[in-house]
């Protein structure tokens, strides 16, 4: 989907062009038109190219069989009509014909199965990887843990798309860059490196899919699936969750930025630096204003999908926070709900995904927003104490 800018034209001329393209592709399934997002992408890995080759092979076989079978039907419908005075023959079987049209399809299928098997065996070779990234699906975001490099972050739908995608938002999606295919934090990966993914989920089943890599894999709670990619070209590759995972299933995109190895190393160093700063932020004292300001940003990114920007929630699954007994009650209980979640509901254990400063800020914001009167301060170290306690 690297070509998305090229296909956003919506003018009349563009439509005619697309119609012509469509007609051509229908007739010839020509790979040259793949750029127009009519066909499967060839992708940027050895595997995705093999998948594309298989796809085109089977497509062509189907086209040829279709032309022969439908051709015979149309010839028959033209020649063997009562209105042309054709007298019906009375034959009702032919052992020879039936053997032919049983055996030939079997041979064609064997011809398809051999390259398909080879490609599948290749895909299953997850060993000898250079690095490992653990991917965890949450409703409705992804978490990435770089096992060797000790980098870890959440990736949400970007805020421009998020504003535009609200019901009757009044924002034209065409004006948003990479609408619904953009995130706040990109996955950065080095090229020409065998990256192994460990894919799982925390709540419901999701599926991690970047079409340019040639595969998708389900993220299942309680299971760890393996997959791998070796990216050939630097670039930005976009994908989406592919398994229905609740109301915001359509709004948890994936963006991978493939860079050279040195650039990757620089990115890792930068992430470490940021983590250091975050760590210091947990230790220090925050002012009420600081907490509320940061908390609002955290709330909008992490909490508003369910509890809504106005704190009113979405009954019955997602309770209102405005006026809620928890947000106006003792701080310990409020911290406990957010850190440990509520098992059996959609409320996640954010202690696993957000750092203590973010949680403390979001809590403080929640307790003073929308007329909530607790208006007390929760410090990051209070959250850390609760997490350890």
């Amino acid at each position: 989907m690297t070509n998305s800018k090229g296909v956003q034209r919506r003018s009349l001329g563009g439509l005619f062009h697309r119609a012509a393209t469509l007609a051509l592709l229908t007739l010839m399934a020509a790979p040259a038109w793949a750029d127009y997002a009519l066909n499967l992408t060839q992708g940027v890995s050895e595997f995705s190219e093999r998948v594309y080759g298989l796809h085109m092979l089977i497509l062509w076989i189907c086209v040829v069989i279709g032309v022969l079978v439908f051709g015979a039907m149309f010839v028959s419908m033209y020649l063997h009509r009562k209105s042309r005075g054709h007298e019906p023959a009375q034959f009702s079987h032919s052992t020879k014909a039936e053997i032919v049209w049983t055996v030939i399809p079997i041979l064609i299928l064997v011809g398809m199965a051999i390259p398909a098997t080879n490609t599948l065996v290749y895909m299953h070779q997850t060993g000898d990887s250079d690095m490992t990234v653990k991917i965890t699906g949450y409703q409705w975001k992804w978490k990435y843990d770089y096992i060797e490099d000790d980098v870890s972050f959440l990736s949400n739908l970007d805020s421009a798309s998020n504003s535009a995608r609200q019901l009757n938002s009044g924002i034209d999606p065409a004006t948003v860059d990479d609408y619904l295919l953009n995130v706040d934090n990109r996955v950065v990966l080095p090229i020409n490196t065998k990256v192994r993914f460990l894919i799982t989920a925390d709540d419901v089943i999701h599926a991690w899919w970047v079409p340019d890599f040639g595969w998708k894999r389900d993220a299942i709670p309680g299971f760890v699936n393996e997959a791998w990619v070796e990216i050939k070209e630097p670039g930005i590759y976009r994908g989406q969750c592919a398994e229905l995972c609740g109301k915001d299933h359509g709004f948890m995109p994936i963006v991978v930025e493939a860079v050279s190895r040195p650039a990757y190393q620089a990115w890792v160093d930068e992430q470490k630096q940021e983590q250091l700063v975050a760590e210091q932020n947990v230790e220090r004292d925050w002012s009420q204003e600081e907490l509320v300001a940061h908390g609002q940003a955290v709330y909008e990114a992490q909490c508003a999908a369910c509890h809504q920007l106005n704190g009113q929630g979405l009954a019955p699954a997602f309770p209102a926070l405005a006026g809620s007994p928890v947000a106006n009650g003792p701080t310990e209980d409020h911290i406990d709900v957010v850190v440990n979640g509520r098992p059996g509901t959609a409320m996640q254990a954010f202690g696993d995904t957000l750092n203590e400063a973010d949680i403390a800020a979001a809590l403080t914001y929640t307790r003073s927003a929308w007329g909530n009167k607790a208006s007390d301060t929760i410090q990051p170290r209070d959250v850390r104490a609760a997490k350890r306690g």
Binding site: V51, K82, Q90, E98, S169, L244
Partner: protein
Amino acid sequence: MSTAETTHHDQDDHHDHGPAKGLSRWVFTTNHKDIGTLYLLFSLAMFFVGGAMALVIRAELFQPGLQVVEPDFFNQMTTMHALVMIFGAVMPAFVGLANWLVPMMVGAPDMALPRMNNWSFWILPFAFAMLLSTLFMESGGPAAGWTLYPPLSLQGGDSFAFVIFAIHLMGLSSIMGAINIVATILNMRAPKMNLLRMPLFVWTWLITAFLLIMVMPVLAGAVTMLLTDRYFGTSFFNAAGGGDPVMFQHIFWFFGHPEVYIMILPAFGIVSEIIPTFARKPLFGYVSMVYATASIAFLSFIVWAHHMFTTGMPLGGELFFMYATMVIAVPTGVKVFNWVATMWKGSMTFETPMLFAVGFVILFTIGGFSGLMLAIVPADFQYHDTYFVVAHFHYVLVTGAVFSIMAAAYYWLPKWTGNMYSETLGKWHFWLSVVTVNLLFFPQHFLGLAGMPRRIPDYSVQFAEFNMWSSIGGFAFGLTQLIFLYIVLKASFGKRTEQLPDRVWEGAKGLEWTVATPAPYHTFDEAPDFRDEDVAHGDVAH
């Protein structure tokens, strides 16, 4: 049964056995024709209910951004659309056709178990009232997809219990209907009609009924486990409690894949009756048709995991399910080749039933092609859960199953009602349907290949144009079906203007064409004298 002259107009001896008057006729009926009519009308109503939900979906997808509904309601619509169309429209339509036609085709006076037949039908309105009522409950209807995958399906509100109970009721209805059909076919055939002389529609329904009896209890088991996970603290599918969310998918698709064939085998039977009639030529390869149907039914039990290639199965599992799935192309191909060979050197006319039958063969085959592509595991890693899959199963279900049901309706409507439909309107209905349905579903192949996942309420702008075409096609297809509604209602309730012959179509074969038109309330009180030339496959020696 001992004499040969009992086949024609035997209703004349039974004036006292007419239908009861008023509502009680329909509530208490044990007559296979009345029950068949109830099934067919119920299915027609559900076709429009499910269609209205599809139009909500297509309206939201008309352009990028959310304009019509919230995402959660969108998910309720996709879920309910599937449940209503599968269990409310397609399956009851085939059962209705079986009720009307199986006794008449095998020369039986009624179904073997008429009282159970009444119950099988009357469960359905209650089941669907319950299912549809969940849309008006506080927590809304089910929104986890018709496949009800946990853990997502367990997150919903308390309407979930109603959905499970409704599915149990539908399963009961299907199982009873299937038992009835098996009992009728195996016990009540006319003398001399041995199994390999039965019309192909009867054969396909016999096999379908066995599939139903085998898999509906599996679905009942799967949803019962969901119910106990949700309300009684079990952990069948909850990993945190030692359960396995993927096990649900295995159990579900062990039901679900045969279910797919439950919705297409009777269609094969219908088309195998209609094409010989309008080609005026015996069905080609009758015996191979029977064996191909049985092979497909057998294979349907060993391919279920091809719906789950991305769940991370071991290599050996993926290879087994890929090969087994590919093998299905062989018997399916035999069927398509046989239909073409039946048309070959015939003397064809193209009345509306034939148009729908030919449309079925071509468009179902396109759905078969994309099915073959989906079987290739590495390619499925790309296609899975995209609009390519949506296009695939709508080709086999709409231009497959639904087209065959419409072909059947046009073909037997004169026999059922005594009225011939307007051929002009029928042709308008066919041609508008075939153009709009392709506008609706063909671009979805491109959307899927270009990377649009299924079950999303909003999409990236690069998918905008094809979605707009698809939505226009959807609304046009939906409106076109009002022509069908008009035709059916006019034939059913309109004034009878002419007396149609017993054999309504020149080339029609089968015992149902030997009784009066419209078919009298009771037929074959005495078994008919069955002759080989009475069936569409003509010479049965082969």
